[in-house]
């Protein structure tokens, strides 16, 4: 073997040996047990402190409130949404009292009007709705049913109401087209308002021979729009064509 090769092999052998020893000494003990990671890390993460107790924990001591709350409109809202993380409170209730939001600024986080919120979600205008009064004056957070049934449909269908309010149909009440049982405002999901079913309904105002005021636009009900129902093209809450 040429002298150069012999010397080089010695050097490489030393380096390789050093690498093997280093690996053995420095690789963490639990590495590779369950996969290409330190198994001890999973245990570390599992043992992190829990801060939210979960709504089931509240019933142990606050059964009455939980019972009331479970039947009302806020039944899907966990206790800790408003009262904050409660794990510490379950361990030492007196030392770790939980706050309860009492200011007006809190409830509009969910109930302040925002057109991006799904229709049917109860929303108010925080500025004009009973200004200055804390929300809890009229609404018990654990049973937040409003003190009296809302008169306007816009209380829950704000975006539709506001869209309609600046359209050609602004002066039409919602009930003109949607026959609404009063019970809908009390148990909205159990009883729905109805919707018009045929072209003749819109024709009551818009047909050539309708008895409606003259400024309402007229079309020939037999031919206009062919096979389609009126609302398949015209959005009834903003029926503007141009």
């Amino acid at each position: 073997m040429p002298q150069q090769l012999a010397r080089l092999l010695v050097v490489f052998a030393v380096l390789t040996g050093g690498l093997v020893v280093t690996r053995h000494l420095l690789i963490p003990k639990t590495f590779g047990q369950r996969g290409h990671y330190r198994a001890a890390a999973v245990t570390t993460i599992q043992e992190l402190p829990v801060r939210y107790a979960g709504r089931e924990a509240c019933a142990d001591c606050h059964a009455d409130i939980v019972g009331l709350h479970g039947k009302g409109r806020h039944q899907t809202v966990s206790c800790e949404v408003c009262h904050g993380p409660a794990a510490a409170h379950t361990l030492a209730p007196v030392e770790n009292q939980l706050p309860a939001p009492r200011k007006r600024a809190y409830c509009p986080l969910c109930h302040g009007y925002d057109p991006s919120r799904p229709t049917g979600f109860p929303q108010i205008d925080p500025v004009s709705h009973n200004p200055m009064k804390p929300c809890i004056t009229c609404h018990n957070p654990h049973q937040p049913e409003p003190p009296h049934v809302p008169e306007e449909c816009g209380a829950c269908h704000g975006e539709i109401a506001r869209t309609k309010a600046v359209s050609r149909h602004a002066l039409l009440p919602c009930t003109q087209c949607h026959k609404t049982p009063v019970q809908h405002k009390v148990t909205p999901r159990l009883l729905h308002p109805d919707k018009p079913r045929n072209r003749e309904f819109c024709g009551q105002c818009h047909a050539k021979d309708a008895g409606s005021p003259r400024e309402i636009p007229r079309i020939d009900l037999a031919t206009h729009g062919g096979r389609y129902l009126c609302w398949q093209c015209h959005y009834p809450h903003m029926p503007e064509v141009d």
């Binding site: 590495f31 369950r34 949404v81």
Partner: protein, 264 residues
């Protein structure tokens, strides 16, 4: 070069004797060995109460976009539960608002992740569609972040959750680059990668992740994919499911119902 023959004869005996000695020493060690083995067995039995077995679970989350009201309680709860820095740059979960107008333009915003809700949109006029979309780590079944981590500091557990080993991460930031969803960030205090863990420390104890716990409208649904009866099973039965960026083939485990095509 050759060894004298006489040396061999002497060493043969010596080998015999040393073999005997060796076997004798071994027999002394035998009871000690047995004792040690027994101790190990006892320990194993003691720990055999129902410990959490990750192989029996596989976690996923369902998100119903039509139920999200953009209140941001989930973002706040996550930061509380997981000690996430409160600066407006670091989020394990956040909420986006999409507003699509009649001209077809889409605008998206997420003020401080949505943690304090959203400021009012300018006006309803001209809005075609608008909605909120909660986002978080998708806990992919084929995670690109795990693929690129050079040291094995981020990994997928057997129950389908992608975690980060804070004591091993070298903070090379490759995983943050590799995530198509922007779900990862670097925690400036520990200088390691961080992200949503599905509140692993909660779900392994039978609790719900903090964001699911506090969602007031039930827009977030958590469940075990391996369980036939779970809220997630119902969710995936009754909704057409979308995932984010399916063309990336990361196989996300966060399932969106009613997801709009404009959502990235």
């Amino acid at each position: 070069m050759e060894k004298p023959i006489s040396d061999n004869a002497g060493s043969q005996e010596a080998i015999c004797e040393s073999r005997r000695d060796f076997l004798y020493t071994c027999s002394l060690a035998a009871p000690l060995l047995l004792l040690a083995l027994q101790a190990k067995l006892v320990c194993a039995f003691a720990a055999s109460e129902p410990a959490y077995n990750p192989r029996e679970h596989r976690y996923g989350m369902g998100i119903d976009v039509s139920r999200c009201i953009g209140c941001g309680r989930c973002v706040d709860a996550c930061k509380n539960e997981n000690d996430v820095p409160r600066e407006p740059f670091y989020f394990r979960t956040w909420v986006e608002r999409y507003v699509i107008n009649s001209a077809g333009d889409t605008s998206v915003d997420s003020p401080n992740g949505g943690i304090s809700g959203f400021p009012a949109t300018s006006s309803e006029r001209g809005i075609l569609r608008t909605f909120f979309v909660p986002k978080l780590c998708n806990q992919c079944d084929d995670p690109p972040c795990v693929q690129v981590c050079p040291v094995g500091a981020t990994f997928a557990t057997e129950d389908g959750v992608v975690l980060v080993d804070r004591d091993y991460c070298i903070c090379c930031r490759y995983c943050v680059q590799a995530c198509p969803y922007g779900a990862r960030f670097i925690d400036p205090r520990t200088r390691t990668a961080d992200k949503c863990t599905f509140c692993y420390h909660r779900v392994t104890r039978g609790l719900l992740p903090a964001c699911v716990e506090v969602c007031p409208t039930g827009a977030r649904v958590f469940g075990d994919i391996k369980q036939r009866s779970s809220p997630l099973a119902r969710f995936t039965r009754f909704h057409k499911i979308h995932t984010l960026k399916p063309h990336m083939n990361t196989k996300p485990k966060v399932y969106y119902a009613d997801l709009d095509e404009e959502v990235r």
